[in-house]
């Protein structure tokens, strides 16, 4: 798994590439929590994720809850079919704000 972060106005866009699993989700968790402190909004690009397991989904739920407590925004975009299927299997898609493109994700504020 590779993570890259860039600024887009006041928001931060985080891009993840590769597999998010029990081995790599702690890294993702740390990066997301750190960056949530640095901006009012995080937009997570999931287009290059080949695989995500329930520890990855759990990480996203934790970050979402933390963002709500801090009055910040945490949104997802670019869900690949594989990611969409895992979201479906875990029945959690409804709790997230999900967009098709980065533009839409950033425009949502």
């Amino acid at each position: 798994m590779k993570i890259s972060i860039r600024d887009a106005g006041a928001a931060k866009v985080v891009e993840i590439e590769g597999d998010v699993d029990l081995g790599t989700s702690p890294d993702l968790r740390r990066t997301l929590f750190e960056n949530l402190l640095l901006a009012p909004k995080l937009a997570l690009n999931l287009a290059a994720i080949r695989y995500i397991d329930s520890s990855g989904i759990a990480t996203l739920i934790e970050v979402l809850k933390d963002s709500q407590r801090r009055n910040k925004e945490f949104v997802l975009f670019g869900l690949s079919p594989a990611v969409q299927q895992v979201f479906r299997l875990t029945h959690v898609i409804r709790i997230f704000q999900v967009f098709q493109t980065e533009e839409e994700a950033l425009g949502s504020a």
Binding site: D19, D21, D53, T90
Partner: protein, 140 residues
């Protein structure tokens, strides 16, 4: 074809860095048996979750526990069996969490049950045994 059926056996440490090896094999195995792309992903996820549970719960995230995995093509689908020597699962916690809620946890055992047709957890003299099967016909 009356020849041998495919079977795989992995002997692996309870270290998450080996999970991609299992995932790499199980998806193509499911495809070779006859499942389509989305079932292959679901089966991969279910097995990965079962392994992750052994690492986290049976071995409390120690990386040096022993896990044995056997996957085989059966007459009507796939069988996977896992064995570990760690702490036995507390049966009352398996699929105990309500689904469709927003708690970050308790998802793995539901995924396994949803994806596979049969799932069993047994205590044996050799260790904790997990067996799951899936018939080719069923679409999830």
């Amino acid at each position: 074809m009356a020849g041998p059926k495919l079977s795989l056996k992995f002997v692996m440490p309870s270290d998450p860095r080996y999970l991609p090896v299992v995932r790499g094999a199980i998806g193509p195995l499911a495809a070779a048996i006859g499942w389509g792309e989305s079932d292959c992903l679901a089966i991969t996820l279910a097995l990965d979750e079962a392994l992750a549970n052994i690492i986290r719960h049976a071995y409390h995230s120690r990386a040096d526990g022993l896990i044995e995995l056997e996957c085989s093509e059966s007459a009507d689908g796939l069988e996977v069996a896992l064995l570990d020597k760690g702490e036995a699962p507390d049966r009352t916690k398996i699929c105990a969490r309500a689904v469709a809620c927003d708690q970050p946890g308790g998802l793995g055992t539901h995924i396994i049950k949803d994806v596979m047709d049969t799932v069993s957890y047994q205590a044996t003299p050799a260790g904790n045994r997990f067996v799951a099967t899936k018939r080719l016909r069923k679409t999830i």
